[in-house]
Amino acid sequence: MILLFIFACGTVTNGPFDDDANFLAALPDEARQTVGFGDDTTDAAARGLGDRADLVELSVVIAAQVNGFVLGTLGLVDRVRELPPTERGDNTRRWGPYEGDCGVSASLLMSREFGVYQWSVLGHPTEGDDGTVLYGTHFSGETVVGGDGSFVWDHGRWASWCGLDESGVVTVDYDNRDGVDLLVLVEHLSLDGAEPTDWTYAYTRTDTLGDFQYRTVSDLAEDGSDELATVTVRDRWIPGTGGRSDAQVTGGGFGDTLWQWSQCWGATGRLTFQTDSLALTETVGNEADCVFEAAEVDRL
């Protein structure tokens, strides 16, 4: 009898806010668009002892640089995650404008069509025309966040608004469909008036495998030469088990000689095997004990 009284109707929905979450999921974020190297290859005690493999030490530093640069470009994107949209449409969202660095306010504009999200950060400088400094495209996968896409940071335009003598473009391709896959291209980047350089980073991470490769220049020989060596490094690891770093070095103090240097390391990053093609370093351990037995530096 009492069941006859049970009745409900209404218009309650969180649909508009769930859709806000969809738009936000289409934006790059720190967890998926940064390099996670170093977090699961060393422990605090090993870091303190300073006995990690040299190439692990180098990759940790490079990863931090990459992350810093990417996160710097995503500042406004991260900021809107904490704020409701300023304007909602069925397939559009707008956040801002918000005050930013150098007195440049910025807005984040997003649109959606057929599961493809396009977004851009529009700067509003105090002088000059508005312009886009960061823009991207995201293709939804099974979920919105589980898709792939890319975004581009126009560092030169932003620097010009701030009156800085800097230039460069950063392009990040990512694929979130199976773990994290990143390809970061830094082109003609010039900071503080330095010579423009090109850097490339590739990073893949799943639950069972990590792969980080980069190419950069370094005074690896530490001979004080003006000519820096070109260093290409590939780190592969199995989380919680150990990994292997292989480096190829040309230029700098090595001239035309290709120096190939390999190190294997355990779960905490400690060196377990080392060899190099010019016998410049002491050979340590047995390569058969490495997590990855063969050297590979060919992804980029």
Binding site: F5, A8, F17, E82, L83, P84, E87
Partner: protein, 528 residues
Amino acid sequence: MIGALALTLSLSTTLAHADVQRFAVVVGNNEGAVGDDALYFAEQDARKMQGVLTELGGVSLLNTRSLYGKSRTDVLRTMTEIQGSIAGAKQNGDQTVLYFFYSGHADETALHLGRTSITWAELTALLDKSGADVRVAFVDACQSGSMTRRKGGTRAPTFAFDLQERLDARGSVIVTSSGGDEASQESDEIGGSYFTHFLASGLSGGADDDGDSRVTLSEAYRYVYHETVYRTSATRSGTQHPTQDWDLSANGEVVVTELGRSGTGTLHLPGTNPGTFAVFDLDRRMFVSQVEVKAADRRIALRPGRYLVQERLPTHLSVAEIQLAARAVVTVDSSRFRDGEYEDDVAKGSIDKSIREAKRPKLALHLLAGGRSFSDPTIQAAYFPATGTAGLEGRFGWRDGKYVSIDFLAGSGPGTLAVDGLGYPVDVDLDSATFGVGAGWRTPEFIVQAGGGLHLQGFWLRRRFPDAGVEDQELFSVAPGLAGWLGLHPGQFEIDVQLRVHYLPYVVDGRDNGMGFSELLLGLGYRF
């Protein structure tokens, strides 16, 4: 003026040549302490006695204080006031008489004024402190049965008045409704307690044995004693023996009522038509007198109005309807009577109506305030944040413990929603309104009381998003559930903590769902 109004009193000896002011405090309370069955006629009996004292007893309305359904505090305050009035009269050189009448529950230690009480010691002290030269107390604290109901929840020993300790030298008389450990009784048939019924009858003229149109305290007591004993001898609760305690330094009689006063008329019942006649006031719907006529004529003083004079015969009623004017004397001889059926007994119908009215539930109004929360924390966080609410509840309680309630609650205030995937809370303004009906049972009336039962609630909720540009959203639901309460009920006031638990069907995104919700409320109430 007060003196002029009160001057009609006659005290036959020591008070005979003085100006006398009479005062009355009339108290009636149908409610008793925990365990006392509520009475039907106690307050009506008090009204009846108030009428007799003011119409026939020379007590002016200005000197009368009537307390029906009131508490200890009210009685104490009134006795203090009357003490001041008596002191004023004595300053003018007047002599004073105070009548105190009580009808209600009592036990061996105290009068029960609803859920409060006044001990016998306190009452006697209050009477002594009144300062009146003569103090007359009629105490009708009785119990009831089926056709007759025992007043008071328990049989109690005879009220233990000790005259030597209680009275000063001027004088005090106390008449009680029952003696020993007897129960006193109400009667559906006469629509009141036996004691008060016959006391009022006697003072109206039924007790005027010597036919001098004045009823003295002795006459009244003899009459009420005889009639009460006779009429209660066959009742289930047993014979009821009124008692008196008399301590007057005066040598003569105290005249309580005078028949034939200017504002009254007289029914003349001739000895040529003997029988036992009950007089029913058609205007006030109550029996006002019962007179046994033998060989001598009897006169009854009554205020102007319409009356039914009834003689109950084995097979039928003999009925005379009388219109009585002030100063008029109407002889009710056999020619005025007609035969009537018991089924057409107007008096019985009126009494039944009084009983029905007495059985009606009592209303308590509560102001409620508290909070509401939902059983599913995820849904609460995402859709319906906990909110405050406040409103009003009306609770109707019957004598047997049943109650029904209706309530209305409303609330409005800000909240936040936690939506998956959003790194910030969504601001929302919530408005809610509920209308509930309940029914259940409560514990006997006591200072601590609890109750509970079913509760059905109509539930309306609106979500507003003034900063988000999202349209208002509404939910309407009918939620069945349970309600329980526990509280303190001092006097007429009620302080309850109430917990309600409901099943809430709801619709979100067009899909039917259900969950529980609870309301914890503090209620401040007053029982009328």
